[in-house]
């Protein structure tokens, strides 16, 4: 399976997860979006040596993964892009910070090792919580929540359109690469002589498609306004869910 195919399958899988008839998917998107951002904020605000606090913060993603019936393996797979960057930044901590800050039995553990582990956990939780959001909330609902937070409609419409066309253009990218590989076997990527014509022609086609999209939208009554998901009211359950977790985050952050 090609890399493009893998990415498209990932998008496909997310779309299927978002459409489930599951209570987490039905929850108000504003609650999920705000809670995710607040959670990440709380986690990353932890001191670099506060390993025990960071460990306890695992409660939110792990519990919610169970409640939302999500696969932890899929979420861990998403770490592949972020983990090397976090590792590259944190890997030097054990070398630079050698002061012993704790003992595990007879083994002395330096501050650098603790801060590196804390950093890894923070990165891991941030990815898990973002996955929890996107696996239970459609982009339309996220856009609706963004509008409720007064994010300008131009920006929200652009996000919505990008989401609509990613799959279509992603499929085109896959067909282009397959066609190219069939004509240029045993070649790792696109040859430099084909960079311009290949991508350039695709770009012109996409610009023309944008023109057609605009005409279609205009014919359907588009005048700069766009509908963002279903209009929903916050229920008592939504508010309770948000409050319980917010209190939990404050308690964990402050220490028991």
């Amino acid at each position: 399976m090609s890399g493009i195919e893998k990415q498209l399958r990932e998008i496909d899988k997310l779309n299927t997860l978002q459409q489930r008839d599951q209570w987490m998917c039905l929850m108000h998107p504003l609650v999920k979006l705000c809670l995710t951002i607040i959670y990440i904020g709380f986690v990353v605000s932890c001191h670099k040596y506060s390993l025990s606090t960071v460990v306890i913060f695992a409660v939110y993603p792990f519990m919610m993964f169970n409640f939302a019936d999500l696969s932890l393996r899929d979420a861990i797979y998403r770490m592949r892009l972020i983990l090397p960057i976090v590792l590259a930044v944190g890997i030097f901590n054990p070398i630079m910070d050698r002061e012993v800050v704790m003992h595990l039995g007879n083994v002395a553990v330096s501050g650098g090792v603790v801060s590196m582990i804390t950093l890894m956990l923070k990165g891991f939780y941030a990815v898990l919580s973002a996955y929890l959001l996107i696996a239970t909330t459609t982009i339309e609902d996220i856009c609706y929540a963004l509008r409720r937070l007064h994010v300008p409609k131009i920006l929200v419409t652009v996000i919505l359109l990008i989401d609509r066309y990613i799959y279509i253009l992603g499929r085109e990218a896959e067909r282009i690469m397959t066609a190219y590989k069939l004509r240029a076997p045993s070649q790792k990527g696109i040859h430099y002589k084909a960079w311009g014509p290949l991508v350039g022609q695709w770009l012109i086609r996409s610009m023309e498609r944008a023109q057609v999209v605009y005409e279609s939208m205009t014919l359907r009554g588009y005048r700069g306004e766009y509908d963002y998901g279903k209009k929903r009211k916050l229920s008592a359950k939504d508010i309770l869910f948000f409050t319980v977790w917010l209190v939990a985050f404050v308690v964990i952050r402050r220490g028991f």
Partner: protein, 333 residues
């Protein structure tokens, strides 16, 4: 070059959000002034196009590796700085959500590091001045390479500053910069070549698609060099001053708020219920002394603290697992 949430402190992430939101608000104002509804669908489709082209691998001649397209410079050469910037925000948000490339908290920083430099500086300081008397193959190649290299260098430098200001790494500033800049010099050069190849083709096939070509007398929407440098200087000063102030003076927002409300960072209580609860706590606390040796870190980390944390997490996750099994059973019945 996407930053992860874990690499930023909330103060730095918040500052970068404010800076990026300011540029976004200015861009939206400019787009609204143009009153061109057609631009929004084009931005959406081009955003998806950049996203899709980043899935393609381009062979780098003479090496065994491959490179990717530079989205910021390409978008600004086609859509201009304002529409390009807003499109890049959409691309970065969708990348962060769909592929965990970046993060929600780090979005402001990523927008600044990639979209602001790529779209604003790339188009205003490089693309537009070079193209103002018309485009040619040489000019497009020069501006694409120069634009990608310069904007990636600035982006990489910002990543270094933001990570250091967040207090994430123990790496000295000099070593960090010396590691980041040369890597991004090579990446910028390759991305510049790919962007140049695509834009040269567009110039030959559909020159009307290119933005800002032959715009010598066009004054509308122009941000002068002085104004651009001024914006960068103000943001740099803000970044250096305010962020470091927050990082050192207000390490904990909660304590800061408490101090403002109650006049003290630690609330003390005595009497009736408090004493009863405190005595229960003393009896039940089987993992006392939560603190590091030689450290005053918030909750501290000791073996007992760590074990306690793991027990709490395991217990709660186990409860959620039981609830999940229970609900599944109820459903099947």
């Amino acid at each position: 070059m996407h930053m992860a949430d874990a690499l930023l402190s909330p103060a730095v992430a918040g500052t970068m959000y404010v800076a990026s939101a300011g540029v976004a608000a200015y861009s939206i104002k400019k787009i609204r002034e143009e009153d061109d509804n057609k631009k929004v669908p084009v931005m959406g489709v081009m955003g998806a196009f950049v996203f899709a082209t980043q899935m393609l691998n381009f062979t780098i001649p003479g090496t065994g590796s491959s490179g990717h397209l530079c989205g910021g410079m390409l978008l600004s050469a086609l859509l201009g700085p304002y529409a390009g910037f807003l499109t890049m925000i959409g691309v970065l948000l969708v990348q962060g959500l769909f592929f965990a490339d970046g993060g929600l908290l780090a979005l402001g920083a990523n927008v600044w590091n990639m979209a602001f430099y790529g779209c604003f500086l790339g188009s205003m300081l490089i693309w537009k001045p070079i193209m103002k008397k018309g485009a040619s193959k040489a000019k497009i190649i020069a501006s694409s390479i120069l634009g990608c290299v310069l904007t990636l260098q600035l982006g990489a430098f910002s990543v270094t500053l933001e990570t250091l200001a967040s207090g994430i790494t123990e790496l000295p500033f000099g070593v960090f910069v010396a590691t980041m800049q040369p890597i991004h010099l090579a990446i910028g050069f390759v991305e510049g070549l790919i962007t140049a190849a695509v834009l040269v083709f567009i110039h030959e096939a559909r020159p009307e698609f290119l933005w800002g070509v032959g715009a010598e007398d066009e004054r509308a929407g122009k941000l002068s060099k002085k104004a651009t440098i001024g914006v960068i200087a103000v943001v740099a000063a803000l970044f250096a001053g305010v962020v470091s102030l927050f990082a050192s003076a207000f390490p904990d927002g909660l304590e800061w708020s408490m101090e403002n409300v109650a006049g003290t960072a630690e609330l003390e209580a005595t009497g009736g219920i408090y004493d009863i609860v405190a005595s229960i706590q003393n009896i039940t606390s089987f993992l006392p002394d939560y603190a590091f040796k030689h450290s005053e870190a918030a909750a501290g980390t000791s073996v007992s603290g760590l074990v306690g944390g793991i027990i709490v997490v395991a217990l709660l996750v186990a409860i959620s697992y039981v609830v999940r099994l229970g609900s599944k059973k109820t459903k099947s019945e």
